[in-house]
Amino acid sequence: MTQSSCDALHFFRGGGMMEVCGSSTVSLREFGCEQSLLSRPDGSASFTQGDTSVLAGVYGPAEVKVSKEIYDRATLEVLVQPKVGLPSVRERLQEQCVRETCEASLLLSLHPRSSLTLILQVLHDDGSLLSCFLNAACMALMDAGLPMSCLFCAVTCAIDTDGQITTDPTAAQEKESRALMTFAIDSTERKVLMSSTKGSFSVSELQQCIAVSQKASEKIFQFYRDSVRRRYSKIL
């Protein structure tokens, strides 16, 4: 075992939550959300992080194609639509990440032999796109009123050449970064639901990024809570 991973083990022993390293600050760009903005889908939401903006729509539970039917749970289909052109191989990987994260938090066994469709339309990409997809997806699922075991949010971290961690980077910061990581964090235990990385990094850098993301997730969950509270205070 290398020296760095020895340090890392010690880092993890603290229990569920990890400490945030003092050198890195958790700053997210301005984020905003609007729910039920489309009339046709059963649930919809737009999520903006700085200049990055995604529109999400959920249809379902509806009838499922026989070939995709699963006898004991609902089939979830995620479609990512880029701003220009047709979805390519890169979008497939993002679809897979979003789908499996949603599958983990949704209680799909309550709707056997039915289909759920989640459509994610990119409105503008200025970095941290995958995390914006996941946040928009969570808000849209919430708007559709689908039963979930927990909520989730996602945070992107970029490590630049000096080893400094930036949360929620812009496209320019992403381009300059040495490594880029996106984590989805669940709302009950603040554990990692999804992880997708680019570039090479050390074990301790990974742990720092997870810790920073967990810290940042608090802000996003608080935002979820506030925005839902604001919305229902108007209705009731």
């Binding site: 075992m1 290398t2 760095s4 991973s5 890392a8 083990l9 880092f11 993890f12 022993r13 569920g16 990890m18 191989v89 890169r90 497939r92 990987l93 679809e95 897979q96 990440c97 979003v98 789908r99 499996e100 994260t101 949603c102 599958e103 983990a104 490594a179 990581m181 989805a184 669940d186 235990e189 554990k191 990692v192 639901l193 999804m194 992880s195 997708s196 990385t197 680019k198 570039g199 090479s200 990094f201 050390s202 074990v203 990974l206 742990q207 997870i210």
Partner: protein, 277 residues
């Protein structure tokens, strides 16, 4: 009797083994299947390798072609990986355009090549802005029994290490490239990324190197790619149930140990291929 139990209650069948800290195929929870490697299996390709992890078989062939570099990167060549999951390898794949899993695997392999910098794409440039090599890496699964990503990354790395590119000179008078097939040189491989896949069973039990049956029953999958310096090139967990810090650390430690083993295996096979020639 056991076969009937397995078909009717696959989850309970696996649980009954895992309760005893073993798996239906006789392995322990952190035991890998036998890994077999054959390098240079396709004589007509520029580089090739065949990997077997248990029953899972992946063959990789590398075809080098001359092309024009892109305008954005005039001093670089490029690598195009493609993972194919034909209907031959498992009943879950249908003929037709590549499915989601094949596309996601292709993108994963491309991301690992980029993240690990196993080849500096500058090495593939022959003349800046005019001529470069394109490496088409075709990965085909012949038998699908789980753990596709590990087999793909290993096949790719071994095939690239086996690749011999012919020497190209540019004729100064005509300006056209001349390929000397007799004089070949090896590719420079800077890093040795190795993928190790894990599965989380029933939200708590961690198993390595899952079979196809196990993959269909688990609640989460995780793939860690490490290189020879112990750095991480990818920690890919597409979703599923959450994983704690200690579990993740356990996975990383096992992945580093696996990387050393696999690199040793590749080097051994490469040297035996060289002595045979």
């Amino acid at each position: 009797m056991a076969a009937g139990f397995k078909t009717a209650e696959p989850l309970e069948y696996h649980r009954s083994f895992l309760r005893e800290n073993c798996r239906p195929d006789g392995r322990e929870l952190s035991e890998f299947r036998t890994t077999t490697l054959n390098i240079g299996s396709i004589s007509t390709a520029d580089g090739s390798a065949l990997v077997k992890i248990g029953n899972t078989t992946v063959i990789c062939g590398i075809k080098a072609e001359l092309a024009n570099p892109t305008v954005e990167a005039p001093g670089k060549g490029y690598i195009v990986p493609n993972v194919d999951l034909p209907p031959l390898c498992s009943s879950r794949f249908r003929p037709g355009p590549p499915g989601e899993q094949a596309q996601a695997a292709s993108q994963f392999v491309a991301d690992v090549i980029e993240s690990s910098e196993l080849i500096q794409t500058e090495d593939l440039c022959i003349e800046r802005g005019k001529l470069c090599w394109v490496l088409y890496c075709d990965l085909m699964c012949l038998d699908y029994d789980g753990n596709l990503l590990d087999a793909c990354i290993m096949a790719l790395l071994s095939a690239l290490k086996n690749t011999q590119l012919p020497e190209v000179t540019i004729n100064t008078e005509t300006g056209s490239p001349e390929v000397n097939f007799k004089k070949r040189h090896e590719l420079r491989i800077h890093k040795h990324p190795v993928a190790t896949s894990f599965c989380i069973f029933d939200e708590s039990i961690l198993i390595v190197d899952p079979t196809s049956d196990e993959e269909s029953l688990v609640t989460a999958q995780l793939t860690v790619v490490t290189d020879d310096e112990g750095r991480l090139c990818s920690v890919y967990k597409p979703g599923g149930t959450s994983v704690s810090g200690e579990k993740l650390q356990q996975c990383i430690n096992q992945a580093t140990a696996r990387q050393r083993e696999i690199q040793k295996l590749i080097n051994k096979v490469i040297s035996s291929v060289k002595t045979a020639q």
